[in-house]
Amino acid sequence: MSVANQTEETSLSKNLDWDVLWERYGIAVVLIIGWIFAYFFVPKFSNPDNMLNVIRQSAFVGCAAVGMTVAIISGTFDLSVGSTLALSAYLGVMVVSRTENIPIAMLVTVLVAMAVGAVNGFLITRVKIPAFITTLGMLFIVRGLSFIISKGGEPVRYNGKAFTWWGNGSLFGIPTPFLVLVICALAAWFILTRTAFGRYVFSIGTNSNAAKVAGVPVDSTTSWIFIVVGLFTGVSAFLIGSRLYSAGPGLEPGFELNVIAAVVLGGTRLAGGRGSMLGTVAACILYATMGNVLNLLHADAFFQRVAVGLVLLLALSIEGIRQRMFERASRQISTAE
């Protein structure tokens, strides 16, 4: 039989490496291919303004997706980000419209979102309500709060140049929101891969019981994870408010599921333990690109929706099918013995 020092799994590990590569870089590769194709074959895509706009668009979901990536790597997720987005954007725009003070507005936006995250963390780790239900309940509560605060859903508006620059302007030719996204993604990736906190996030996701036995502070890490989700959601909120010159409770319906879809499409699987920030960013750009290309091709606006869901299912089916093949193969090995 095989070499004594190998487990049964290693004879199949070559297959597994392909899966890891696909997870990490697959979507980025698809994105590049997509862009090359679009550049040459889709009329008006190669227009610089157009391409920059696509990149700009990707950042609004992207920043929140960065935070969600952290959560999903740790094996959980947050359904309340859409409502949090609306609430914090509203408060941020309101503050900036009253005070004309950008830094304060940024701070308020982010802090409000982080506060929601803290509540999520508390309910999950202390009261021990499962994350799905906690964040679902908070989705309703926070949305209700934003309606209440906005006295019935009246959006607040502000179009001061300094403020709207964040969502609509550019720096050195690159759309500002995208720069923010890149900074966020890099910062988050740094934290995930270089800090103890990040290490703990991965270990909880890969095997939370083993993490506990190894001395990882599971509860406090989990609480902080939700605060981090809030942080990045707040960034998205600020950018969107700036982009739209306004914010109201009805902001971006379905946002939470879009964010989760982007993260999962990007290669970070719901099971946790591993993930790809590059993939998240690439997936956001990919979604924005798809929307743009379909527009330019005068495709049915509604076909976009279909495309979005289809792409997600396709990407995950690839893994599902590989998994079936893996199962079939491993069954053969144990019988061949």
Binding site: N5, A214, G273, S334
Partner: protein, 524 residues
Amino acid sequence: MENAPEVGKHPVHVMRGINRLWEIDKTMSKNSHNVVLEVQGLTRRFPGVLALNQVDFDLRAGEVHAVVGENGAGKSTMINILAGVLQPSAGEFLLDGNPIVFHNPADAQQAGISVIFQEFNLIPHLSVSENIFINREPTRNGMIDWKSMHQRAEEALKRLEIDIDPRVPVSSLSVAQQQLVEIARALAFDARVIVMDEPTAALSEREVDRLLEIVSSLAKDNVGVIYVSHKLEEVFQVADRITILRDGAHILTDVASTLDEEKLIYAMVGRALVHGKCPDRTLGEVVLTVKNLNVEDSVHNVSIELREGEVLGLAGLMGSGANEVVEALFGLRKAQADEIVLQGKALAIDNPRNAIQSRLGYVPNDRKTAGLLPDLSLKQNISIGILERLRKFFWIDSDREHEAAETYREKLNVRCSSLDQRISDLSGGNQQKVMLARALAEDCKVLLLAEPTRGVDVGAKAEIYSLIDLLVESGMAVLLQSSELPEIIRLANRVMVFSSGQSRKELTGEELTQEAVMALATRV
């Protein structure tokens, strides 16, 4: 080399020779004994380990045939093969004299073989009757015929004289009752062979008696029972014949009445200690004192004193409390004790994090569920407990992390292609070394080891033993919990033998032999 089992005092082939002569005699009278199931030359290989080596076995209708052996003897493997879960590498199955092959659990069940595993196959939310008739529920006009099902369930239960209301959900039953439901289910399937895997591990004394009564009545009903256990007293109470396995080989099969505990134990463990006994050690100060530790229902009033430079062994079979002691000390179980003092400081440990901070290191007995971080690399698995120490400003100093990991990789001779290799790609032995490295990296004063060489190949085992020697030489204090007798004798200078949650006796020096440990461990 890797295919050869650990041979002991009586080389396997000699035993087989003796058995062959005896078997010829047996074959002549076998057919008159109504053999239901027979296994010839059963062999099963895993990478690096020969779990079963040419085992012969037969079961007669209406007999209770016990299979006895210690950890690693091959009992679980044999059970899994009988259940159709694993395939044999070689060997033949005969059912009523006709050859048969089980490709999967359904085949085995069709053939009338029912296996009751330690992890029950029950559906907690459904009623007893539904569990008994799962997927074969009697129906009338498309609806479930509750009356008929409950009635038939009650009959099945009555047959075993079990007094359980078949209408209640299985989750409301005690573990012992759930086990009885599993048996009832097997019978309702018209099983001709029922295999029980360590059935009394979680039962109270009275429940054990009840179970043994039921086993006897099963036999009276002409069902063949394979009773796998290492609780010798029970085995003697209920078995007609006893088969002993040791290191994957068939050692002995005989009528229970001609065997006694001494013979049994000798057959179970009688082997030359390949690893020998533990070296002489110089002991230092007392470093850990535990007085009257109680852990829920598993451990009663255990007191421990551990010195620097010594390895204190906690021996015992599953459920004896030895493992629970170690888990409690590390904060994985709720426990009370009059006193726990480590290096002069009183300890209150209620979670692994403060255990580690108090300089206790731990290697869990099941690295798959409680140890390894599968998606992480070798290096990251080692450093997970010391990340705060490796800090540079607010991030991890990757050079120091690499250095630390490399130090331990070398020290423990972990074979890998690189420190960044994914831990799940390593072999069992190397993975276990990484677990050890993690504990050592935490600079612990007391090392708690639970089954440290479980699932580890022979070569790595020896390396780990040498390492433990070195560690204690430099002053480490080690608490070693193991159910592998040669291991505990090789490593521990003192052994506390556990059974039923209590420490029975402390063995050391000359009196520390496999037989002595086993004799104490199998006492109820």
